[in-house]
Subunit: 413 residues, 2 copies
Amino acid sequence: MKAEIICVGTEILLGKIVNTNAQYLSQKLAQLGIDVHYHSTVGDNTERLYLAIKRGLHRSNVIIITGGLGPTVDDLTLEGIAQVLQKKLILNRNILKDIKDHFHKRHIPMPKENVRQALVPEGAKALKNEVGTAPGLIIRWHEKKVLIALPGVPAEMKPMVERDVLPYLKKNFSGDWVILSRKIKTCGLAESQVNQKVKDILKSKPPLSVGIYVHTGSVDLDITVRSTNKAIAEKLLNNTERKINSRLKKYIYGKDSQTLESVVAKALTKAKRTIAVAESCTGGLISKRLTNISGSSKYFPLGVVTYSNKQKRNLLGIPKEALDNFGAVSKEVATLMAQNISQMAKTDMGLGITGIAGPTGASKEKPVGLVHIALATPRKVISEEFHFHGDRKAVRLRASQAALDMVRRYLIK
Amino acid sequence: MKAEIICVGTEILLGKIVNTNAQYLSQKLAQLGIDVHYHSTVGDNTERLYLAIKRGLHRSNVIIITGGLGPTVDDLTLEGIAQVLQKKLILNRNILKDIKDHFHKRHIPMPKENVRQALVPEGAKALKNEVGTAPGLIIRWHEKKVLIALPGVPAEMKPMVERDVLPYLKKNFSGDWVILSRKIKTCGLAESQVNQKVKDILKSKPPLSVGIYVHTGSVDLDITVRSTNKAIAEKLLNNTERKINSRLKKYIYGKDSQTLESVVAKALTKAKRTIAVAESCTGGLISKRLTNISGSSKYFPLGVVTYSNKQKRNLLGIPKEALDNFGAVSKEVATLMAQNISQMAKTDMGLGITGIAGPTGASKEKPVGLVHIALATPRKVISEEFHFHGDRKAVRLRASQAALDMVRRYLIK
């Protein structure tokens, strides 16, 4: 089965936004063993959109169109589809009710343009939009062709894809190919260090391929196996994962959709430990990441951002002498922050972070990127000095990553 | 002049990487006044690549191809171009020397595959690659058509584009066009409400175009003017901006690269005011955003994340009765959080946020998305109840946006 993804939006062609939808959908289709042969993007232009859909129907089995489903006159996807398929647009009362409910819940009167979003081509199956107002559509053209239209806003599209589109495609269009993949995420090593440790594995040949992908604070390995035999594919995937695990050991913090904070959340829950956080340079980022996880109130009662020396003294009780003698960015102050926040919040552990995020605030002795992190545990305080590179955003992200990773490594020991 | 961008690479179609090259090139072409009508991506497949190039030459004036110029047999772009243009591939001795030098400098013997990269279609102008080995190519097909091939690795492509491609296009394909654009960012209105207020402006005709772009917590208007006369373009841009300002007034928080936190930072600095933040559902996100800005310690000394009722009592001194009678998610508790954090930190203002970010923690009376925000100012407390939609991430982001916007609106009054 051949698939293609058509994205609609002048903002993509003007370079105003990057096309992440094409990537997301491609990953999902690859997991179903459906080959994506083309991505294309056209603007909000009737003729070019019409031609793109027509070409798609001619050359592919699964055509996914994203964008152009909004309520304004610029949104042309529905008209384009109706024109290519020579179908009428019909008012769908269920969708209209969903749209009305959407506005009602938010105590806003429904603008009359939004009625347009309830017009769908004859015979289309409508997909409920739980986040916004534009419904998705599945239109089975004939046995081997389907046209799927989805909203362009990722937060609206993704739930629809997971809930409706993937099960539909799996049932009707997924061939005999199995594509399995696994992402292995590491923290604490540079790309070149990871590369050196798995150099031979990176040279794997089909049906196995292994790639290295670098993000701020995380170097990931991606294993992909493609086969018609699921058992063989699984075995190869698992063997490769084991091999990588044995090389990178403690540097691996998670896999696939896991984030460092989700792994830490799980470890804290499992160990029945609680933690409090006192931040300076990361400015709340660590608390924010810990609370990304629903249910985090079970192990995280308190975070503070003491962004001035005065607040480090007043709120955390860091002695003036410590600040004067060692400076706010020091192992000693990080340690006191960790110990004192843990005492204040009566938690098992406390995390203290202080550093120079830049671009201002640096000195010769304390350059941008210097960060001290301390983790107070019931038995001892673990502390580490880091020198991160990059701009303010990168330094803060790397610091939060290193801090959470200290918690993870302590808990898994 | 119509342009299109063709990206070559199976890794893009598998969703392993996001196609940032298309965005980068589109932005650059837009600045030259060259209209990009299509993006397309094909894999490392001779036939589909051939057809894509052929279609490009037929329908566009400027065809930029990225990727597929590497040394391996998978890299098919040169063969594809030669085949479509019916040109021979000829060994270019200057390029071969560059490639040899590249390896020589790194003390690595040149692998013999790399000789392939010195084969270029007859008549092509080669562009030196200062970072890697694949040269770029400019092939003038006839007066109004040009085919440009560039390496897929962004770090190799970008210097070539800046140094060679843009000057070439500016001279030969851009004409005298000037494109000016401005983004106007709003907060507090739904897309449909913004749409309603500027409906007529959104229907502007060339040389003016105005589009609406929705992000979580921000609805932006993008004004673009395209003209051969810079003075006229500027006037039209400024007039349109003024017209939009008069319609959306207080809902506009910034423009172009400004973020809500950068605008709030500026307003706090200008007014010489300080602020402290007590968060619950946003979990540190507001402190994190305020401290995104370098120098924020001048106006932001303290943030706390009281993620349990106990910490709301102990640290912020919220009376047990308030929590029992009104619940943690209430106007009363948000107000006390705002007042007490401001007193604790001795700041001019205090922000208190409490809500249900979801997916757990909701009740019939207090659904997911309910958020109370209070801003304590020297004279009074402003409080507001919000009902945000979306998942945990969206609710938290919208809540942080609404809170920062309350600060902004208070300060600009």
